[in-house]
């Protein structure tokens, strides 16, 4: 593939990136084009406003949280590597990948997808979803369509069902357990073509 390799060479550490994320060269190029399109001022990194400019994302009730997932605590910019690594969570699970004992878990494993979803709830990153955090998410998803009491009853019911060690919060293990029958691969994957 003639000129495609020249585009790839412009991206630093692209081999490592492809290995870590499992994206093919064609995907990396398309994602790079997308990154450049979002980076309207050509600074080489993205800031929250660049994400905010995506209209469909602005319309999403949890859009802010998703944007927040791209920025590590304290950082205000996202470079191309981080961008691709976060998006790698949404690659469909590789069914044919052989299980090497010493290789690190792939970014798009079921467990890592769950962790990604968990952090959307757990904004203070203390490893638990408190009642307050749950209420906040419910409020985002339902807006003004339900009353405070309805929200609280939903939250209480959810915690009651999932909270196994009775500490009034949902830990990652409890989260994982409550979703063990859900087809995470299907729900948390985007089909990247080619």
């Amino acid at each position: 593939m003639g000129s495609t390799s020249s585009t790839l060479l412009k991206i630093p550490n692209v081999e490592v990136l492809m290995q870590e994320t499992g994206f093919s060269p064609a995907h990396i190029i398309r994602l790079h084009d997308r990154f450049k399109a979002l980076d309207k001022e050509g600074r080489g990194h993205l800031c929250p406003q660049d994400f905010g400019a995506i209209k469909e994302l602005a319309m999403n009730p949890i859009g802010d949280r998703i944007i927040g997932a791209f920025f590590s605590p304290g950082k205000e910019t996202v470079d191309f590597h981080t961008f691709v690594k976060i998006l790698a969570h949404f690659r469909p699970v590789d069914k044919d990948r052989p299980k090497e004992p010493n290789s690190p878990e792939p970014i798009n494993s079921r467990s890592n997808k769950l962790k990604f979803a968990f952090q959307l709830y757990d904004q203070d990153k203390d490893g638990k979803i408190s009642r307050d955090e749950l209420l906040k998410v419910l409020r985002s998803m339902l807006g003004m369509q339900v009353t405070e009491e309805q929200l609280e009853s939903i939250a209480d019911r959810t915690i009651q069902e999932a909270d196994l060690d009775r500490d009034e919060a949902i830990s990652f293990e409890e989260f994982r357990k409550s979703l063990e029958k859900v087809n995470i691969d299907h729900k948390m994957s985007i089909r990247f073509l080619r």
């Binding site: 585009t7 209209k55 949890i62 859009g63 949404f90 990604f116 807006g143 339900v146 859900v182 948390m188």
Partner: protein, 440 residues
Amino acid sequence: MESYLFPFDSLICMLLGISFTVWFTLLLVFIIVPAIFGVSFGIRRLYMESLVKLFEVSECFVNRFNQIIEKNWFKMSLEQEVQEMRRGGAEPEFDMSDIFYFCRRGVESIVDDEVTKRFTAEELESWNLLTRSNYNFHHISTRLTALWGVGVLIRYGFLLPLRVTLAFTGVGLLVVLTSIVGLFPNGRMKNYLSDKVHLMCYRICIRALTAIITYHDSENKPKNGGICVANHTSPIDVIILASDGCYAMVGQVHGGLMGVIQRAMVKACPHIWFERSEVKDRHLVAKRLSDHVADTSKLPILIFPEGTCINNTSVMMFKKGSFEIGCTVYPVAIKYDPRFGDAFWNSSKFGMVNYLLHMMSSWAIVCSVWYLPPMSRMEGEDAVQFANRVKAAIARKGGLADLLWDGGLKRGKVKEVFKEEQQKLYSKVLVGSSEDRSHS
């Protein structure tokens, strides 16, 4: 030395003189005269067919890339997805996994979103040998490059000067002839002449762009006392429609060359030009439009309700102003064939001059125009619903996606109301069903 140059000088002058005459005669015979009479030799169609063959040849030399994600894969509505995620058929309640739907949709839009796509040029499936459409095709062989080089020579060396000459002729004639017609007293003769003059000049402009247009369903052409609405892709839309029928134009008064043209046109027949200050006053605008429409001796008004140029893959929200007036609306769908030249004007990227240069150095502008049957506002329908109905008809006929997005999103922010729509849908699924439970 001078005596040697002299014979060469006169020889060169003679050659130039002859080629100029030949050139101009050819121009007159093959282009201007047919434009005056509205006939066609079919040269442009022949040209188009040869271009298609050329593209098929170049197709084998090129790699292509498709869309990055398959959005239609597992495309379900919010309700269906949420129901599906419930396990064991229990009554719908909030579940921790509900967030997956929003999360996935959000990340999909980060990778590829619908709205931004509409405001950038449409992506082609295969390359049409124009540099400006080469955004996906990174791998080009030497043979293809040679073909492209020849294309550049033809387009910039031959087609561009030809087209520029024609454009100047067309515009010049428009200004001069409409001013002359303006000297006539008002009456049937003046209207007749004005129609002929307008049509002729627009036809010359069409040839200046090498536009190959197919008109469908001409029996539905707009009549006096009505409003013609069409989807908007570029300023050329006006020329395309006006070369097949006579319309009254609506627009802001401009300065410079545009202003000269506008002032000349309005001498021959009544167009509606607004001062900048008047545009803000919606009642004034509506009144002037209604007055014009009420007078059946005046031509149908041509309006583009999207308010801005869209890239011709979809139709965006129509502004309701023209639909409030209460007269017959004649919808028209315009669809460009992007293989020959992209007519979309991305006004945030290119200025007008740049855009015209692009247009005139493309292979051709090929489009189809469909005249749809007239529509009127029905009982109990408000202006917005009527506008949406017309929009859906246009989108369907032209094979464009019918989006509820506002063309104003090109520059403005998303309104909160769209987020609320999502929240409403989700809450209906949850709370609606829990109410059923409490009743049973």
